[in-house]
């Protein structure tokens, strides 16, 4: 589903190269964890996948379902089924969460040539999804992410992910700022989305989240490259021995 080939990318403003020849393949149905120390390029990778303009791809390609997505803008990538759960979701003052959900869902439907959702159907979907994440409907009347706690923001991200039904889910440090109860709820939400035709990429610093969402593959990112790949035991190994060992081997 996702194939990243020899990707090189730099920051447009100052030319700093962040991704330096990254290779990664994630199949449909797979849950892949990307781990790595701070500054290894994890978040940058998620931004590049989503099409953020601050980064420029200088070499290599990103194939999604066999097609390059480099020329697509963030909205086009989103409607093609790529979803990024942000580490720091943005506040959108004055735009009720509910309203935002409706606009996003209907824009995606429009792009796919589908009719907008009827209001009762929309409400039903939102209610069901919110209930499964233990979210209060009253919260959805508030402006998106404005005044939300860290945990509420992350839940709101997963809610959007559920409702938009993407094929490729990228979760950037979704566990940061979550207490143990919220972590459980969010993880359950992600697990519920596991399906044979959906790939999930989990970017995380710690192994903690992977106790709740069990990955099929684990990849260690360091200095803009995947330096080691393995199964879930690699995550346990990293937790026990730190990144130093793996980095040492690669060097």
């Amino acid at each position: 589903m996702l194939e990243i080939k020899n990707l090189h990318a730099r920051i447009v403003d100052d030319g700093t190269e962040i991704i330096r020849g990254l290779n990664l393949t994630v199949k449909a149905g797979e849950v892949a964890a990307i781990m790595g120390p701070n500054g290894s390029g994890k978040s940058t990778l998620s931004y590049i996948l989503a099409g953020r303009e601050d980064y420029e791809v200088t070499e290599g390609d990103i194939l999604y379902n066999g097609q390059s997505i480099l020329e697509m803008d963030p909205a086009e990538r989103a409607t093609s089924g790529i979803f990024l759960a942000f580490q720091y979701p943005m506040e959108i003052p004055g735009v009720a969460t509910m309203e935002f959900l409706k606009v996003a869902m209907n824009e995606q439907r429009k792009a796919r040539g589908e009719e907008p959702l009827k209001i009762p159907e929309f409400l039903k979907r939102v209610k069901d999804a919110a209930a499964s994440l233990n979210m209060d409907m009253a919260m959805l009347k508030r402006p998106l992410n404005v005044g939300f706690s860290g945990g509420e923001k992350k839940r709101a991200e997963i809610l959007q992910m559920k409702l938009l039904e993407p094929n490729l889910c990228v979760l950037d440090e979704t566990d940061s700022g979550l207490d143990i109860d919220a972590l459980k709820i969010v993880s359950d939400g992600v697990n519920a989305l596991r399906s044979p035709d959906r790939a999930i990429v989990i970017i995380t610093h710690y192994q903690r989240l992977l106790q709740h969402i069990e990955p099929d593959t684990v990849h260690v990112l360091y200095r803009g490259q995947v330096i080691k790949s393995g199964d879930k035991s690699l995550a346990l190994d990293l937790e026990a021995n730190g990144y130093a060992g793996v980095i040492g081997q690669a060097a």
Binding site: R52, D73, P74, A75, A78, T79, G94, A96
Partner: protein, 505 residues
Amino acid sequence: MPAVQDTIDRVRKIDVDQYKYGFQTEIAMDKAPKGLSEDIIRFISAKKDEPSWMLEWRLEAYRRWVTLDEPKWARVHYPKIDFQDLYYYAAPKSTPGPTSLSDVDPELLRVYEKLGIPLKEQEILAGVQKTDASELEEPSDNVYKSGRVAVDAVFDSVSVVTTFKKELAQAGVIFCSISEAIREHPELVKKYLGSVVPTSDNFYATLNSAVFTDGSFVFVPKGVRCPMELSTYFRMNEKNTGQFERTLIIAEEGAYVSYLEGCTAPQRDENQLHAAVVELIALDDAEIKYSTVQNWYPGDAEGKGGIYNFVTKRGDCRGHRSKISWTQVETGSAITWKYPSCILRGDDSSGEFYSIAVSNGYQQVDSGTKMIHLGKNTSSRIISKGIAAGLSQNTYRGQVSAHRKATNARNFTNCDSLLIGDQCGAHTVPYMEAKNATAKFEHEATTSKISEDQKFYVMQRGIPEEEAIALIVNGFVKDVIQQLPMEFAVEAQKLIGISLEGSVG
């Protein structure tokens, strides 16, 4: 950054073609020769069958006007207007006053239909009540759900059709064209016309006093709550006709009225001058709510041909505990010069000003309000949201003053500006003056840019760039949109989106 050139290209594309309300209708016009003189004023007054006192009033204004100079203090720039090169009177040719829609020139009705404005006159005439809010998306809390609107449509200069008159008359409300009011209710017009904006007020108001051709008149008698929202759709049509409406709204003791004004204009090669005067008078315990959505032609890609909008709007809280509230959404015009104001004369009276001013392309907006606190315990509230895109300049200019006797005057002002792109400008010019030590004025102002982070986030959910901007901007102006009656709120949100098309690279 490459985005800059791209932005310029996009802005360049904001052309006449993109102005969807730019079209002209062909209806035979009856008009005065070009230029302005005492004879023209006599012509206008005669055309309108006015009593002699009205003609004298106009002539006096004219004689004063010739001695005045155009004001220069606003932050707007435009070529000199040749006031002798304009037509001052144009009326649709028709038999005297139609009494129902079926009597109206079908061409005229098609114009309204083309505008797509929420007139729904047929529905209203058929007695269909729009109380079903489910049709509308996410109605905000503070909206009127009466769903009934009486329309006094101004086509160029003469009111063509007035609906709902009978029902209003039963309630004792007078809602008609100002010309009709001059003929039918001279005592009221004589008493109140010019009592808020005197003929000597300012250059444009004085000009208006001399040549105004039409506008609305509303009188809500003591203790009456106007049973429906009153609405006028202004529309300029005949080429080169300066339009000079005069609106006068009076709410007697304990009365309430909500008035909506909205407008679109056809495209134009030459600049059109618009200099309206609106006077509101609220007596003891009365409340007037005045809402405007303004979407006149802003000009082509070079900023040519747009409408010059020099308006004087003022409300007089003449009575104790009276209240006047202005809400405006300004998206059109090449130049906007407009300061809806409140004179808080009665004790415990209050004034409000909620404004959204969107500028794009080469538009210039200089708008704001004045809150003049004269009475005791008076309060005022100003919420202004300016959005500048393209190469536009957007200025908020406001004055809050408390006079010597205005003990415990209160004001809260909040001015937020949002910039889209880096070639536009937002300016805030607040004047505050308290001559009474007990006055409390608060002022907050912010200027921000739509952040790339926000835009990226919204787009990542599958919302295309322009829609993403419109969504963020509509969030930014939410506080003001909520003040609008529901019919207008929905339209205004769409309009803001349309106005910002082509503003991003």
